[in-house]
Subunit: 293 residues, 3 copies
C-alpha cells in the first residue's frame, strides 16, 4: 500500500476540509526541456512501476544547470502539491561522485534527486528533514544505470517505489542531514533604514523575486503603506531607481515598476503589464538595496 | 457526487457513442508559462480539493496578458474537451476591482476566471450562458487570497469545488450575464465582391486565423472552387498579395501562401511548410480585405 | 476491455517485477507547440472516447515539420512507456494523398499516424511490425474529418478506440509493412581506423546525437578507454576538432567537448555544462568522421 494512501492532507490548498489521499503521488521537475523526450520518459518509468500513480510535472523548462532556480521553484510549488514523492533533476554533476539521495521531510513527503542543494530549501519549507538516505539499492533502480540520465535510471524508479510504500531506509545507507550539500544563498540584511538583499529568480513575466519578506522590509524601513515611494540601488548601477510599494500590478500605471509582496510572501519587483527585467535591466544574483525615497 | 459524473457527453469527440463521464473534469489555461511553477500549483490545488479529478492543461504558453488570444484558444479547445469546470487565467487586472466569476453554459460546463472577456466567446460556443455568479464565498477559496495569484487562491479552488458538485450559486451573488465585460472583437464585413475582416490569432506554425467563415467568403465572392486565385489587401500595406483558395497546405508549392478553411471552420492564411506570418509580415489585429484576383 | 488491460509489461522501466497494466494507455507526440490548443484537443478527444485512459505527452515541441526528429524521439521514448497506443503527428502532407496508418509491433503497442516514416524507427525498436492497416473506417474517426487536423479527427480517435480494445484490422484494409514510407537515414560506416557517421538530433542542451553505437566506434578504432583523445572531421569544415572519449559530462572541464555513449547507447557529442552545438557550430545532418588523435 502506498505510503501516501489515506494520509491526511495539510497543504494550504486543502483548506479547511482535511481529507484522504487515494493514489500514490509523484511530481517531476527538471531542466530537460519540453522538446526532448526525457521528461516523458521519467513519467513512463514512474507509471511502469506505479501504474496507479498520479504524476504531476512541476516544470521541465528550468534554465539548464540552474540548480538555484530549481530549488526556488520547488520551494514555491511543493507546499501546494499533495504529499508525495518529488523527483527533481538539475544535475550538472550526473555520473560523477555526487550522491543520489532521498530526503524525508516533516510533512511526510520524500524528495529525490542529486545531493547538490537542489532539494534542501523545499525540504526546509515542508517542515525540515527527518532523515536522508543514499540511493544505492539495485532493487529500486533500472537494471542498467547510465552515466548521463539518472533521472530515468535512478531517481524516477526510486520515487515510484517510495510512492508505493517502500521506506526510504530501504534505498541505502543513511546520511547525516547536516552533511548534505547546501547552495550558497543570499540573505536579506536589515540595516538602519535600508534593506540589503539580492535577486534570486527572474520569472517568465519579467517579475523578479528578491530574498526576503515584507517583515524584513518593515524591520528595515518601519511600517509600510501602499503608495510609499522607495529607491532601489542595484549592484553595478550608478543611478538609484524609484519604485512604489504597491499591493498589486494594476495599482500603478502600465509599464511602471513596483515593489510588492508576491503570492509566496516574498518581496518582488515587477512592472505593470510589462517586464521589470527588461525595463530595469535586472540580472539574476544582482544585489538590491531598498531605502525610502 | 460530481456535477459531471454520469453526464451524457455531446462533444464532437465522443462521436456516435454517447457515454457516461466517470471523473470530475477540470481544464486549465493561462499565460503563466511552462518554466514557472504557477501552472503546476493550480493543478496541485485542484487535486488537493478533488483528488479524483482529471486535470488537462489547455495551454500555459498564451502570450502574456493576451486576453484575446486566450479567448480564441478556449473557443477552439473547449468543444473537444469533456464537460467540466474550465479555469482560465489571463488576468492583467488581478488584485484590482475586476470580478472573479463562474459562468455556467448550456452544454453543462462551468467556466471560471476573471470578468475581463476571456471566457465569453467559448461560453457562446458551448451554447450560451445560463447564469453567472461572483466568486465571493470564502468556503471555496484558499484561506489566504493574495493580490497577485487568483489562479491559485480563487479560481482553481472554485473550479475544483464546482467539479465536485457544488452549484455555482453557492459561489456568490448572481451577475446579469449581459453585464459581463466583453472584448472588442473584429467582425467580418460582407461587401460586394469583397470580404473585409482582420487577423485574430497567429499560431505557432505561422498560420493566421481570420475572423469569419467560408460562408462569409462565399457570401462576399460567390461560390468558391479550390484553386481560385485571390488578392489580399493588408492593413498598412500598399501592394496586394496574391493567394490561392486551397483545400490544404500540400495543395500549393512549399513556401507558397494559401487561404483555406481551418479545422474549426475559420478562414485561415498559411504557407505550405512555412510561416505565413514571416512570409507576408502579418500582425495580430491587422485588417485583411479579400477579393478575387 | 482494453487491449492493454492485464498485459505483462516488459519495458526496461518495469525492471524485474513483471506486472499487469490497469488502464488503456495512449501517448501523444506532435509538432503542434505548447502554445496552441491542438495538443490539448487531441487529449480531449482521447478522453471523450476512452475516459479511463492514461494519456502521456511525449513532446509537442518537436521542430515544425521535422519528421526525422519525431522519429528519433519516439525511438528514444517508447521503450520506456507502458505498452499502449501511441499517436504521432508530424505531418506536412496532411490532407493530401498520404495514408493514415495503424502499425502493430511485437511488444504489443500500436503506433498511429501518417505514413511518412515517422513511426517506423520506433516500430523496429519495439520488436518490429506485425501488421499495418489503413485508417479508413468511419466508425473510428470524428464525424467530420477536416483536411488540416488529422491528429484530432483521425489519429486520436483511432488510438483511443484501439486502446479500448478495437483490433487494428477493424480500422481498414491491411498494408504490406514493407511498402510503408521509410525515411532516408544516415548509416554509420566502419572504415579502417575511422568511423564515418552523421548528426541525427540536436537536443535542448546542445548535445548532439550521432548515428551509431559504441560498438561501431570500437569496430572502427579498436578498444576504447575513457580519456582517449579523438579527432572529429565535420562536414564542410577544414580544421579537425579534438575531443575526448569520456564517461560523462563532469569528466572534462566545464565547456570542454566530449564524445560519450548517451543513455540510449548512442554516440553523442556534448560540452560539459555547455552547448556542443554552439561551441562547435554543429548542424543537423552534418557528416562526422571520428579518428584517433
Amino acid at each position: 500500500m502506498s505510503r501516501f494512501y489515506r494520509r491526511p492532507i495539510t497543504t494550504p490548498a486543502a483548506g479547511r476540509a482535511v481529507r484522504n489521499e487515494v493514489r500514490p503521488f509523484v511530481s517531476l521537475l527538471s531542466d530537460f526541456g519540453a522538446r526532448d523526450p526525457s521528461a516523458a520518459i521519467m513519467r513512463g518509468v514512474v507509471l511502469a512501476i506505479a501504474p496507479d500513480a498520479l504524476v504531476v510535472d512541476v516544470s521541465h523548462e528550468v534554465d539548464k544547470f540552474a540548480v538555484k532556480d530549481g530549488a526556488l521553484l520547488l520551494w514555491c510549488a511543493l507546499p501546494y502539491l499533495p504529499v508525495g514523492a518529488h523527483v527533481a533533476v538539475i544535475d550538472p554533476g550526473v555520473g560523477t561522485e555526487r550522491y543520489g539521495i532521498a530526503v524525508e521531510v516533516a510533512r511526510g513527503d520524500v524528495l529525490v534527486g542529486p545531493d547538490n542543494g537542489l532539494l534542501l530549501r523545499a525540504a526546509d519549507r515542508l517542515g525540515g528533514i527527518l532523515r536522508a538516505h543514499l540511493l544505492e539499492n539495485g532493487q529500486y533502480r533500472l537494471p542498467v544505470v547510465t552515466s548521463s540520465f539518472h533521472g530515468r535510471d535512478l531517481f524516477a524508479p526510486a520515487a515510484a517505489h517510495i510512492a508505493l510504500g517502500v521506506p526510504i531506509e530501504a534505498m541505502g545507507r543513511p546520511l547525516d542531514p547536516t552533511r548534505l550539500v547546501r547552495l550558497a544563498w543570499p540573505e536579506a540584511e536589515i540595516l538602519d533604514g535600508e534593506l540589503v538583499t539580492a535577486i534570486v529568480y527572474l520569472d517568465t513575466f519579467g517579475n523578479v523575486k528578491l530574498e526576503g519578506s515584507v517583515q524584513h522590509l518593515i524591520d528595515a524601513l518601519g511600517p509600510m503603506e501602499y503608495g510609499d515611494p522607495l529607491e532601489l540601488r542595484l549592484g553595478g548601477r550608478e543611478r538609484p531607481v524609484p519604485v512604489v510599494w504597491a499591493e498589486t500590478f494594476g495599482r500603478v500605471e502600465p509599464g511602471q515598476p513596483l515593489l510588492y509582496e508576491d503570492s509566496y510572501g516574498r518581496l518582488c519587483l515587477a512592472a505593470n503589464q510589462g517586464s521589470a527585467v527588461a525595463r530595469l535591466r535586472l540580472q539574476d544574483g544582482q544585489s538590491v538595496s531598498i531605502q525610502r525615497a
